[in-house]
Symmetry: C2
Subunit: 425 residues, 2 copies
């Protein structure tokens, strides 16, 4: 029965039972982690053979004759460009292959715009424009928010809906406020909601008429092919859509193989208009000697093509989909019908978004810490770590083995119930 | 006989002979490269086996149990820290392991100081201080100068002497001008002069009393163990020296394995005071998920220790020292006694610095292009690419095979002579 319909006595009775279970669990001294989208050991093993694909010297030579062991090819080897071009559906000339971290590419892009302005000639550095603002669809990815917060920007939360961020809000804000310089988006299997931006949302992004001429969309397509149930959601390419409205310079697209090959030893990419890419390359020639071409070559040789990557993603899904299903089953069993929780049922990506009863997420997080289960801190999915309704928690089910995940989820449900009763009683 | 002592007739006679040789060479349509410090193929082969040291899953686990294939260890794996700690003589806690490019670490450090100021609490961003300046001992490394020029700083050349940059100039400038925020240095086997900074120069750097509290020394120890004749020059550690004067926060030290293992697929490092390193790590936690730990592990497994690296450097020296000798022999044979050229005789590093007759370096560069030999552009070793005396050329002898190097050097001597005669006649 819904908790809100229980009498105070019934609630306290229930609390007694739950308290007992909580103390039992506490005595078990758990040490579990559902905090971040970390790969399970079995997932890492899928790519182990990539570490020995470069056997001979000849393996290190690109199709254009460049020796990947030496300097050269600032913007990536042709094979890596082709691979990402296939995955993203974007021409090679609109891509730059980055290093091991797409987050670093995003940071670099923000930092470059802060110091030098965007890619237009004579553009004013963001840092020289006084207080500037950045839109943050929330719940969203804490590391995105951290970058723009670190830069001293004002972060403006935007509601997330079933089909993407609230475009009415975004249009009104962007079209009327010149100090808004950008927006963070994870368009597919969004972090943490799993939302897949609809075609209409993408069209509205593509056709934005920002007041700020140096407004930019940071489109973090981190989970572009990260399906759970062998059914890859297709989505229009934002860059192509934006071109229809003359807006192609407004778009940066990012992705990486962090959750395809190895986190920390993958390959990242930035895509944008040809104009922007040329400007960024020119800048990069001052910034770096170029990224690790041998690691690019490992990826090219190991995966071969988009099809090779898709096959790999099926193997990943075999390992992690049961974990998503298990969390959902436990939530259904323990929480449904109580009126104190809602959660996402993602078709891809790395997270489940759990909304607890308003005003209880922090309390749940504390109780979970106390039980020895590491969760993403409550509030982390909102700008400045402040969830206005204090209800969102991000669940990352991929890392723990099923048995540990079960324990962690049961503990979580217990805490969600206890916190709700504390609030109600 | 010295060219300056020849009569106009003698000069023109010599010119006729040289012109003939020049035309002969031109007809050969050479295609040679002495432009940049690129590794020879044989040098790359020395490290080929590093690409297969990670055979099993267990090979990917650090001594502290971290799986290098996954997220974690933002500042580097313990083994990599130990290796660089041995090489630089700096405690591990004062190091951060970077990505594949120390240039990128330097750029990041400059960019961070531009946007946020140095590591002191409440420090004003460099970008918010109006026109700021950077000291550039010259001839020096063009890519250093490019970073600070790109940032809009005013670059101030400082003379290079036999034992390092002119410390009288530096002290006067730094101690009286608050707008001077830093200096670029390559302290050992300097680029391009091969100069080894003396103990006294290092002591004077360590004891600088800059007017700007946010002044920083960018100490690019790129060639720290890159000897040519199995005799590694020892040098006091700037960080340790600076500590004696309470100046340890003033120092950033950089190095990498770009010319030990693979350019583009090496490992870089930044060292500084414990205070600075802690502040930089905090910043890095926003900037990136961390660098490639598998590549760090490859280096640790392949080299094992500083001794392992030294052995590798001996093998590098076996390949490249004969090239440096050949250039010196040809210069001696063709140019000595003519009073039109001076050149360095480095004991390490990657370059020979050639001073032609004043006002002729650009002309020599043009003639070399015309012959199909790619040199570092004349002027590149000075801020803004402007050599005030137009005499310095940087020779990079490591890449071409000996036979090609011989051709290129003979062509170079011919052009140096021709340009001098053009100037004199």
């Amino acid at each position: 029965m819904e908790y809100t319909l229980l009498s105070k006595e019934q609630l306290l009775e229930e609390k007694l039972l739950l308290d007992k279970k909580y103390e039992e669990l506490k005595s078990k001294k758990l040490n579990l982690n559902m905090a971040r989208g970390i790969l399970a050991k079995e997932q890492l093993d899928l790519t182990q053979d990539m570490l020995s694909v470069l056997k001979t010297k000849e393996d290190c030579i690109t199709e254009v004759g460049t020796d990947c062991r030496n300097y050269g090819l600032l913007d990536g080897i042709p094979g890596a460009k082709r691979l990402f071009s296939e995955i993203l559906g974007i021409p090679s000339e609109c891509l730059i292959i980055g290093g091991n971290s797409s987050l670093n590419l995003m940071y670099d892009t923000i930092a470059r715009n802060m110091i030098f302005g965007v890619e237009e000639e004579g553009s004013t550095p963001w840092a020289a424009q006084g207080k500037i603002k950045f839109l943050c669809p929330s719940p969203g990815y804490d590391r995105h928010f951290s970058i723009t917060a670190k830069m001293g920007m004002e972060l403006i939360p935007v509601d997330m809906k079933e089909d993407g961020p609230d475009m009415d809000q975004i249009e009104t804000l962007v079209e009327n406020d010149e100090s808004i310089k950008g927006i963070w988006c994870v368009p597919k299997y969004s972090n943490p909601t799993g939302v897949i931006f609809s075609d209409e949302v993408i069209r509205r992004f593509a056709s934005l008429k920002p007041k700020a001429k140096d407004f930019r969309i940071f489109w973090d397509d981190a989970y572009t092919i990260h399906f759970l149930y062998n059914d890859l959601a297709s989505q229009p390419c934002l860059l192509e859509e934006a071109k229809k409205y003359g807006n192609e310079n407004m778009v940066y697209i990012f992705t990486s193989t962090s959750k395809i090959s190895f986190p920390g030893s993958g390959v990242s990419v930035i895509a944008s208009s040809k104009h922007n890419i040329e400007a960024i390359k020119k800048h990069m020639s001052v910034q770096t000697i170029g990224h690790d071409k041998l690691n690019q070559m490992r990826h090219v040789k190991f995966f071969g093509s988009k099809e090779g990557v898709i096959e790999q993603m099926k193997r990943h899904a075999e390992i992690i989909a049961p974990k998503f299903k298990l969390v959902d089953e436990i939530f259904e069993r323990e929480l449904s019908g109580l009126g104190i929780a809602k959660w996402s049922k993602p078709e891809g990506g790395y997270f489940i978004s759990l909304d607890t009863m308003e005003g209880t997420a922090k309390r749940v997080y504390e109780m979970m810490c106390d039980l020895g289960v590491n969760l993403t801190p409550a509030g982390a999915t909102f700008p400045y770590g402040k969830d206005p309704r204090d209800c969102n928690l991000r669940i990352a089910p991929t890392f723990p083995p099923l048995s540990e995940l079960e324990q962690a989820c049961e503990a979580l449900c217990l805490c969600v119930k206890l916190a709700a009763i504390e609030k109600l009683a």
